[in-house]
Symmetry: C2
Subunit: 453 residues, 2 copies
């Protein structure tokens, strides 16, 4: 019986303890939970046998980074494990079948906020190292960990830290376990991510709420103005109307397009079962994987203001605030895209209101060349443990730090993810498939062994 | 010293007690307060000297009506006083300078939710009757009261009751004190009201919230769909694009238009001081009073769904619900307008989502011919007490019961209102100008005297 088999119950209990900490980074009231989660990681890393582990505090009120190292393999490569211990908010709470911070196992899945994004995958990295250290007393390569607590809210602390190029971060590759497999039983490495700019659009009309009977027909309505602005930014086919927005979009190479076309995909299943929708939307004539992996998008996430309670209130709100984000691809530049959005919002603002577009967070897109030994080793480890050829995919999501590692440390990111497409990331009933959790631990350990040869 | 002068302090204390009851009809949790407010009215009417007063309960869970009568003037006309004891919700609470249900007098105004709409004006009617009964022992005409507690939420109970034509409602005219004066010191009678249909537009995309990174570019976004639908219903100039919507709109007569053009009006003051806006909006070339009194409008009051909290959450919401209303004028028919809206929403719904437009409440527009003795007497009473010629105006607001009185009881409504344009109706810091409150009581008493001659 292997260490992995012997310790399945321990791995699960440890993960549950991690998931019970509501480390929501977007809500200030969870600051103490953030600190608890960081402490949990540090303790686990020391318990796993890492030589040292510590919290790196932020000078500007940010959440602590967790750094750990084991450098007992001179002459061998150095791997930097990255992950995040913070999670998304859990609302709407009433749609969860079990409470988001009381992990529950149902049908081989563990349900909790953060199960797959990213606590379960961080825990895979820690337990892989633990298994090797506990069974062999050493690691096949040098290993460092850098975990952050602001991934869901902009990642300013880690970004500033990595940009300062501290010598202790020197490594040959970053291993990121924060993505998903293309399909169950299909080992996947992600080589491309979209960038993300998250905005708040605040629109002001009158200086106080007005009665729509008395003023309707003459008063500016910020709620309506937001509708007018966002429909001016994106058409009904999903094409973004912001001038210049597509100028630096790079289409995927023919070889990559052809590989995507070979991926097993059932549109009906994807639409009706995975998404629960009646129909897909988006740019006509653009294949699905290109739409979600290699094309920019613009989404409205919510609009605050006015009256949204039960019953009827005939108010023209003085102010409304929309949450809007854009995803960026190819050579799109964050700063340039923000300037384009600012100009487009200005041009689209109807008379009678003032509109202010504020950036809450921003991260660049990234694309890795898969032809390097660190990615090849990952493909081999995955193939060995999952029993199938590894596929190279992209993700439509954003992990801004990947671009920062590339640019400031000059090292490739290996995005070896164990999530599944139906894991309800950022949604109620987030889950992690337990067989992937256990096999993930074995895969990461095997990866280090292959690199050590 | 008159009764009015002697009892100013009592009138104010009584009004404060009425305003302290948070009788919000749109919120189910305030049902007990609704009942307290109804009981308060009944007690006040009996205290004023009305022969009888009682609550008329609803068979279907609606809020009670308050009915009272004094019929000691045989051969004289009968006046039916109408008003409502329910109020709008008070949110956003943090914009109130004093708590909405703790009335506070500042600078000759009383601030509280319901101060002018409509508790203060209901109290004027009760105190006018009280003054006459206490000083002369009788009333110059027969008087009935019918007060309701659902005006802000559709008025179903009173509508059903009036439609049943109960013999006790027989009267020569209805006196409604629920409108405003055109300007301070300018006695006004309102002869036209817009109708109101209040909708909820529910849009469903996927069956659960989705991550905008993973699905953005392929998933339907109900928040965006609502923006697309409402911008298809109304253009940037305020023109409603719903086919057929203007077919039965009747323009004001040249004489009425000319009278409106003579009303004192300072657009800069109205826009910047009264509204606190930088610019008016609405149909180009249509004069302001016509835009707000004699043209239909469509407003979005709020959109529920998605993420609207602090920080960033990249969710594509499964569902979003918009609060939308239309105001109707002229011969626009409620049912026909609803059918037109349903068809327009259907045509404007983008692919990938389902949209359902549900009616929460509906009331027809109304227009009264001012050439009748009950309106003439009101104009005389107002002129006498305010010392200026009474003007005939319309209101852009909606009092659906006025159309019902007209249609089912066949009697005219006399809309003698004492509110002011800056009273913050339906908004934070609602107020009532106390000199208008006191003069209102005298005016209504004088009105009954004139009718009794």
């Amino acid at each position: 019986m292997t260490y992995f088999e012997q310790h399945k119950a321990d791995f699960l209990e440890g993960l549950k303890a991690f998931l019970r900490i509501p480390s929501i980074s977007t809500l200030p009231e969870h600051k103490p939970d953030i600190r608890r989660a960081a402490g949990f990681c540090k303790d686990e890393l020391l318990g796993a046998g890492m030589t040292s582990a510590e919290l790196i505090e932020s000078d500007s009120g940010g959440n602590p980074l967790v750094y750990a190292e084991w450098l007992g393999a001179p002459g061998k490569p150095t791997i930097l494990f990255y992950g995040h211990y913070d999670v998304q908010p859990a609302d709407p709470l009433d749609e969860w079948k079990s409470p988001p911070f009381e992990p529950e196992v149902r049908n081989d899945n563990i349900y909790a906020r953060g199960a797959v994004d990213d606590k379960g995958q961080v825990y895979i990295q820690i337990k892989a190292v633990e298994a090797l250290l506990k069974t062999t007393g050493k690691l096949p390569v040098n290993v460092k960990f850098l975990l952050e607590g602001e991934e869901e809210t902009g990642g300013e602390h880690i970004e500033a830290y990595v940009k300062s190029k501290p010598p202790r971060l020197k490594a040959d590759a970053v291993v990121v376990c924060d993505t998903e497999m293309f399909a169950p039983e299909m080992p996947s490495i992600c080589i491309g991510l979209r960038g993300l700019v998250y905005y708040e659009l605040a629109v002001q009309g009158a200086d106080h709420d007005l009665h729509s009977g008395v003023y309707g027909g003459a008063a500016p309505n910020p709620m309506m103005a937001i509708a007018e602005i966002v429909t001016a930014l994106k058409d009904r086919d999903g094409r973004i109307l912001v001038p210049g927005f597509y100028d630096r979009v790079v289409p995927p190479a023919e070889k990559e397009r052809a590989a995507w076309a070979r991926l097993p995909f059932d549109e009906k299943e994807y639409t009706e079962k995975e998404m629960g929708a009646k129909e897909l939307t988006g740019e006509p004539g653009v294949p699905l994987f290109e739409r979600v992996w290699a094309r920019p998008t613009l989404e409205v996430h919510g609009i605050r203001g006015g009256f949204t309670g039960e019953g009827a209130k005939t108010v023209i709100p003085a102010r409304a605030v929309a949450k809007i984000s854009t995803r960026l691809v190819g050579d799109q530049n964050v700063e340039e895209s923000i300037a384009q959005m600012q100009a487009a919002v200005k041009a689209a603002t109807p008379r009678g209101v003032t509109a202010e577009l504020r950036v809450l967070s921003a991260g660049a897109p990234s694309l890795t060349n898969p032809d390097n030994p660190y990615i090849h080793a990952a493909a081999d480890a995955l193939k060995e443990k999952f029993g199938k050829e590894t596929v190279y995919i992209r993700s439509g999501g954003s992990i801004p730090i990947v671009g920062v590692f590339d640019r400031y440390l000059g090292i490739p990111s290996v995005m070896m993810g164990f999530g599944l497409p139906d894991d309800n990331l950022h949604a109620p009933n987030e889950k992690f498939h337990l067989p992937n959790f256990y096999r993930g631990i074995e895969t990461v350990a095997r990866y280090l062994e292959i690199l050590g040869k």
